[in-house]
């Protein structure tokens, strides 16, 4: 049966259609397409579902497909690597599903969009407090693209064409950086690490930094989960060379770790997903970008920024988009970036999350995560055949687990874990061959002691099996 009238399309009712066509002065909708050359008109039915399904059937269909998923609801999953499992308070979901927020466009008409504008201004403000900066934009796509944009921003400001990044960096983030940097003629050079403790090799920095260096980028905590403790020294070296200091963060660490603003960062980027946004198989995410209050930085910052203003009559405060002359719809090819649609609603989610947690909540979040992760390190390191962590440094929520002493490869271990209904860490053996058979494990406040104990038991069993 053909559904002639669709529930999303009110004017598909034949009578209405006729009436409207009459007003226009046509007898057939085809007349409105008459200027499309006949050769270009589609003559066949496309290979799509022919007719729409009723809502109930759509629901059943999608639910059935997804029901084959195995998630961290049905087994302990120790994966992070840039997309982390954190609990999302019910309030966050309630607010971002408010249809006035959900179904609004970019707030081009501020007077009728004050709610979204204020929420985004508050997001910017909360992020500034968290990272210790003065200015934040209202979002980038994700951490990886924020890194690409930050590199280009630094190059525009310093008029230099080299970015120094650590060798210990997420390979996909590095790949994204390269793709963003290349068309701007920016070279990426990598800095080595201390093979014992993983910390950035200061000699390598000293050797590579020069008057060509636009920026030095570090991540804290690093991709492999350890805390980079030489941030001050790196900052000093960077600024001595006249370069900008860019720091990438996991914001959930900043309730207990020193914010980059306190160790001299000029630009802070990071992944906002863990602040109230679901993993969703890797997207949507939330690119954080913040900088110091410095006109050179602010004018070169990409993306939308919301500011406070007043009504024209000066009687009331309000919010609107600012510095739009940086953006593509005004400046076109001279814009700081082409970004237009961003991740606004994810920013609102993070805003609600930070408002709920407050200073105490963020501190406790950091404490819970670092406690559980270090508990896992302690428990796993007691297992024969495991070396964890690979680097003797302090770890926050992720850490490396090496299976070389057991003579096992990570892939096999992960397969055995999955058979026991546990998902092991991300296999990074190919990403960092120097580290041998290693996996990157992630533990957050959503992993209970019993999840970790269960993992330890399973790994003991698996590693004993061979001996």
């Amino acid at each position: 049966m053909t559904i002639h009238v669709h529930n999303y399309i009110p004017n598909s009712v034949p009578g209405t259609k006729r009436q409207m066509m009459q007003t226009i002065g046509i007898t057939n909708i085809e007349e409105l397409y008459a200027d499309i050359p006949a050769a270009l008109r589609l003559k066949k039915r496309l290979d799509l579902p022919k007719e729409g399904l009723p809502e109930f059937e759509v629901k059943k269909h999608v639910e059935k497909l997804l029901s084959t998923s195995k998630t961290c609801d049905s087994m302990p999953v120790f994966l992070g690597a840039g997309c982390w499992p954190h609990y999302i308070p019910a309030v966050v979901k309630e607010i971002v599903e408010r249809s006035e927020f959900l179904t609004s466009y970019t707030p081009y008409q501020p007077e009728t969009s004050q709610g979204m504008l204020q929420a985004l201004f508050e997001y910017q403000s909360l992020i500034c407090e968290l990272v210790g900066m003065d200015v934040a934009n209202s979002s980038m796509y994700d951490w990886a693209s924020a890194l690409g944009e930050a590199a280009r921003m630094a190059s525009r400001i310093t008029k230099r064409r080299e970015i120094l990044v650590p060798e210990i960096i997420h390979p996909d983030r590095l790949a994204t950086l390269k793709v963003y940097a290349e068309p701007a003629g920016i070279q990426i050079k990598q800095l080595g690490y201390d093979s014992e403790i993983g910390q950035l090799d200061m000699d390598s920095l000293e050797k590579r930094i020069s008057t060509n260096t636009a920026a030095v980028y570090i991540e804290n905590p690093s991709y492999l989960g350890f805390i980079e403790s030489q941030a001050e020294e790196i900052q000093a070296q960077t600024h001595k060379a006249g370069a900008l200091f860019i720091v990438g963060v996991d914001p959930t660490s900043l309730g207990i770790l020193k914010p980059p603003g306190e160790y001299g960062a000029d630009i802070v980027i990071g992944e906002g997903q863990p602040l109230g946004n679901a993993m969703n198989y890797g997207g949507p995410l939330l690119g954080i970008m913040a900088c110091r209050e410095d006109n050179n930085l602010i004018r070169q910052m990409p993306g939308r920024i919301i500011g406070i203003t007043t009504t024209l009559d000066g009687t009331q405060e309000g919010f609107c988009m600012v510095l739009q002359t940086r953006e593509q719809h005004i400046r076109r090819e001279k814009a700081t970036s082409n970004i237009c649609t961003n991740e606004a609603l994810c920013a609102v989610a993070s805003c609600v999350y930070l408002a709920l947690l407050g200073p105490q909540g963020m501190k406790e979040l950091g404490e819970t995560v670092i406690s559980r992760a270090n508990y896992a390190i302690k428990v796993l390191s007691q297992i024969e055949g495991i070396k964890t962590p690979v680097f003797r440094s302090h770890h926050f929520k992720e850490f490396t687990v090496n299976f070389d002493p057991a003579g096992k490869d990570t892939k096999t271990v992960n397969t055995s874990l999955l058979q026991r209904n546990i998902h092991g860490g991300k296999d990074i053996s190919n990403e960092f061959p120097a580290l041998g058979q290693t996996a990157l494990y992630c533990v957050t406040e959503t992993h209970s002691k019993s999840d970790i104990d269960q993992l330890a038991e399973a790994l003991t069993e698996i590693l004993e099996a061979k001996r």
Binding site: S113, A144, T311, H329, C340, S448
Partner: protein, 510 residues
């Protein structure tokens, strides 16, 4: 036609709360864990400890809820009423898609999970990519871009990769865009390292073919074009345009912001476009969320598929896989595989409409736009530039230039006054080739009565302009706040981009 938006004078979060209040309680650390790890401070290097707590507000849960509910009530969405922003395709966002996108079986998936545990979502993404390829007439589709402009960036990078592999990248440095193009086009071209060459529109509002011919050369990398264009016209010479570009050795890029009226009618791939991006959050009904997240998949013809970002989703007849072995891939443009929760909504949308429904939505979007052309035809002071007789597609562009000359009331004033009638304004001052432009895209979502209400509002505003222009010039009156001082907001002396900055330079109220 009366409307009054809520106006709560809601204080910012930083002015709310009391010391010690809590908005959320986290799971507590178990004793066994605490004992094993010992003193927390030993877990953090001394140099890296936070000494001062984060200066966040301290709020209880009900306060947080009330605050954001108040804010939401001071915001206008497509669920509130007509949202005719031209080129933005503000259509209805089906609720079923929201509930599906909130399924834990999607929300709780980490992107690095073993393929065997994520077959369902991989199948959905694989199928969606096939459907988009079919709809756009392209060979392979990459779902990674997070937005339309992100898709444009990928598209222009693909052009670059193609030129590079042909050894032409030093030579072909110019990317041509029409003067009526969306701002993202020249910005994306520049970001990918191309020099932007602007080609003018002719008297008919379409690309001036002669001008295009004289623009292309051995330096031409390609042309970025949206079709229908931003005036709502189908570029009827598209076949010749494609020929000119291809003969010059360039590639043709399709900006899919305006694809909605062509669903099931015509395909960019058949018109000769080599690279196509689409806006999932426009054409495929996913919510804009106040500016995002969206998704901007890119489809390409066969020869370009090898350059697409990794991983590609493949199907071996039994299982779906993530394939990273693409030696000629440009690499990556983002962290993972795209805005999956947005893409899932689009999958459900296509399932809900099917081919027939998609075609119907295209046709009705065009019907609605042309209906408004007729309804607004004799509004005093408002004119329809370019061919009066020629049907528009998804949108129509009016000019308020006459109104401004007669009464001083500008397109911006008309837009602000529309807000007073509980409607959203059209896109203003775009495309740049129309003076005092009001660019209107009604979409298929709104019933005839709502379109009539919009037309009636424009009539009234015109009458007001000629009889009582003050009420229009000083609009809006019925929104949460009256007209804002946008200049002041960007002025270095008063600019406050965060609460920190605001505190440092308290703004004078007058």
């Amino acid at each position: 036609m009366s409307f009054k938006q809520a106006s709560w004078s809601e204080r910012t979060l930083f002015r709310m709360g009391k010391e010690g209040r809590r908005g959320h309680i986290l799971p507590q650390v178990e004793d066994g864990v605490r004992q094993m790890v010992g003193d927390l401070w030993t877990l953090i290097p001394d140099s890296m400890r936070r000494r001062i707590p984060v200066r966040l507000p301290e709020l209880s849960e009900p306060e947080v809820v009330r605050h954001f509910i108040h804010l939401s009530q001071m915001n206008y969405g497509v669920d509130s009423g007509l949202y005719p922003l031209g080129s933005c395709t503000m259509k209805y966002n089906p609720k079923i898609n929201e509930s599906l996108a909130n399924l834990p079986s999607l929300n709780m998936l980490n992107p690095y999970q073993n393929e065997s545990t994520v077959q369902g979502i991989l199948k959905i993404l694989y199928t969606l990519a096939r459907w988009i390829a079919e709809i756009t007439g392209t060979h392979e589709v990459c779902l990674h871009p997070a937005a339309g402009a992100h898709g444009e960036l990928l598209g222009t990078l693909l052009m670059h990769a193609c030129l590079k592999s042909n050894g032409e990248c030093e030579k072909r440095t110019e990317l041509v865009v029409p003067d009526s193009a969306h701002g993202t086009n020249p910005a994306s071209a520049a970001m990918a390292g191309f020099t932007v060459i602007v080609v003018p529109s002719g008297d008919d509002g379409c690309i001036d073919i002669e001008a295009l011919k004289s623009t292309v050369s051995e330096q031409t990398a390609g042309l970025m074009l949206t079709n229908p264009n931003t005036l709502g016209f189908f570029e009827k010479e598209i076949e010749e345009i494609a020929e000119i570009i291809h003969e010059a050795g360039g590639l043709l890029y399709y900006d899919g912001a305006n694809l909605n009226p062509l669903l099931g009618i015509a395909r960019p791939g058949d018109m000769g476009f080599d690279i196509v991006h689409i806006n999932i959050h426009k054409t495929f009904s996913t919510p804009h969320g106040g500016g995002g997240p969206g998704a901007g998949p890119v489809g390409v013809r066969k020869e370009l598929a090898r350059f697409l970002p990794v991983p590609r989703i493949t199907f071996d007849g039994k299982f779906y896989h993530l394939d990273y072995k693409r030696p000629q891939s440009i690499g990556k443009i983002g962290s993972f595989y795209g805005n999956v929760a947005v893409l899932l909504r689009a999958y459900a949308y296509i399932l809900s409409l099917g081919f027939e429904g998609l075609k119907e939505s295209a046709e009705i979007s065009v019907l609605n736009a042309n209906y408004l052309v007729k309804k607004l035809a004799d509004v005093r002071g408002i004119t329809l530039p370019y061919d009066q007789k020629r049907p528009r597609k998804h949108e129509c562009v009016f000019s308020a230039a006459q109104l401004k000359r007669d009464t001083g009331v500008s397109a911006a004033n008309v837009a602000k006054r529309l807000l007073d009638y509980g409607l959203h304004a059209p896109t203003m001052y775009f495309p740049l080739i129309v003076d005092e432009a009001l660019m209107i895209e009604p979409t298929e979502t709104f019933e005839k009565e709502e379109l009539d209400r919009f037309a009636e509002a424009i009539y009234r505003i015109s009458n007001e302009a000629y009889s009582n222009r003050k009420v229009v010039m000083e609009a809006p009156h019925n929104t949460a706040v009256s007209r804002l001082d946008e200049v002041k907001a960007s002025h270095p002396r008063t600019m406050a981009l965060s609460w920190r900055m605001y505190r440092k330079k308290p703004m004078q109220k007058n």
